[in-house]
């Protein structure tokens, strides 16, 4: 269960998910820099694809986040890009998906949970936000609190369980048939399940944020 330590910086151990998170961050930063280096008013070349992609994501999210979308589009788009690349990097032999570790997914879902609550307080005011926990009656308080906890727990466990379960299945298959046979399953678990889980994680994140705003 526990990821292995790759190397130490000073006395800090660098675990595998942390290292591969740095690799993904570098990849995303460099590719964003190269792709957006000279943007023009009239799109040309690769800029067409970027604009179509961003507009598609914006309409997808606007449907869920509502009028506050301007603030949340970069957050949710960046989450989607990071989770997508992190899910799909597992296809490369020797690479390790950071989302195969519970700490990464729990961090992401806690980030979205806390930001949603902060946005809710900012929009509704502290008293009304606090009153939301005893809706519709005071007796519902324990159930509401359990719902709050299960929200980010299930949000993180869903991604972690899917990616980790796929990784275990692939590992067992590697032991039994190391050549050729795992390739279609790798494509399924690495690429298709990776994209689906990214879409689900992102959509659920925007729905949770929207629920806290209303």
């Amino acid at each position: 269960m526990e990821p292995s330590i790759l190397f130490h910086i000073g006395s800090f151990p660098v675990y595998q998910p942390v290292f591969w998170t740095w690799v993904i961050m570098a990849f995303l930063a460099i590719s964003s820099f190269i792709l957006t280096r000279n943007l023009q008013k009239t799109p040309k070349g690769v800029q067409h694809f970027l604009e179509v992609g961003i507009e598609w994501v914006e309409t997808l999210i606007a449907h869920d986040v509502g009028p506050a979308r301007k603030i949340f589009v970069p957050l949710i788009l960046m989450t989607a890009l990071y989770v997508g690349v992190a899910n799909m990097i597992g296809v490369i032999p020797g690479a390790y998906s950071p989302t195969e570790d519970l700490t990464t997914t729990l961090t992401l879902s806690l980030m979205i949970y806390v930001l949603g609550h902060i946005a809710g307080i900012a929009k509704k005011g502290f008293g009304k936000w606090l009153k939301g926990f005893i809706e519709p009656t005071f007796l519902m308080l324990p159930l509401n609190l359990a719902g709050e906890v299960s929200e980010f727990v299930s949000h993180s466990f869903r991604l972690y369980g899917n990616i980790f379960g796929g990784g275990i299945l692939l590992g067992i298959l590697y032991m039994m048939a190391p050549y050729v046979l795992p390739v279609p399953l790798m494509a399924w678990f690495g690429i298709i399940m990776g994209i689906i889980q990214t879409a689900v994680f992102t959509l659920l994140a925007s729905i949770y944020i929207q629920n806290k705003l209303t």
Partner: protein, 91 residues
């Protein structure tokens, strides 16, 4: 010795039983997908929003199976493996 063997066997059987929820969730998700196809056939212009709703609904109803998977992983990696190691030591 025998106690450890019984515990190992019980954990293995329990993990297997916990994964029944995967099958049940499979039935539910297949049902959702079938209904979504019916809805898409009836209203092809609503395809995008139907697909989004279908994926989110399936993801939410999948939580049960994910919880059972988490329980099984905990059982196997934090309970079963130390027990097996202890068992091999005693052998």
């Amino acid at each position: 010795m025998l106690e450890i063997a019984i515990m190992v066997a019980a954990i293995a059987i329990g993990s297997g039983i916990a994964l029944v929820s995967g099958g049940l969730v499979g039935i539910g998700e297949g049902f959702v997908a079938g209904k979504a196809v019916e809805a898409m056939a009836r209203q092809p212009e609503m395809e995008d929003s139907i697909r989004t709703t279908m994926l989110v609904g399936q993801a939410v109803s999948e939580s049960g199976a994910i919880y059972s998977l988490a329980v099984v992983l905990l059982l196997i990696f934090t309970v079963l493996q130390p027990l097996v190691a202890r068992f091999l030591e005693l052998l």
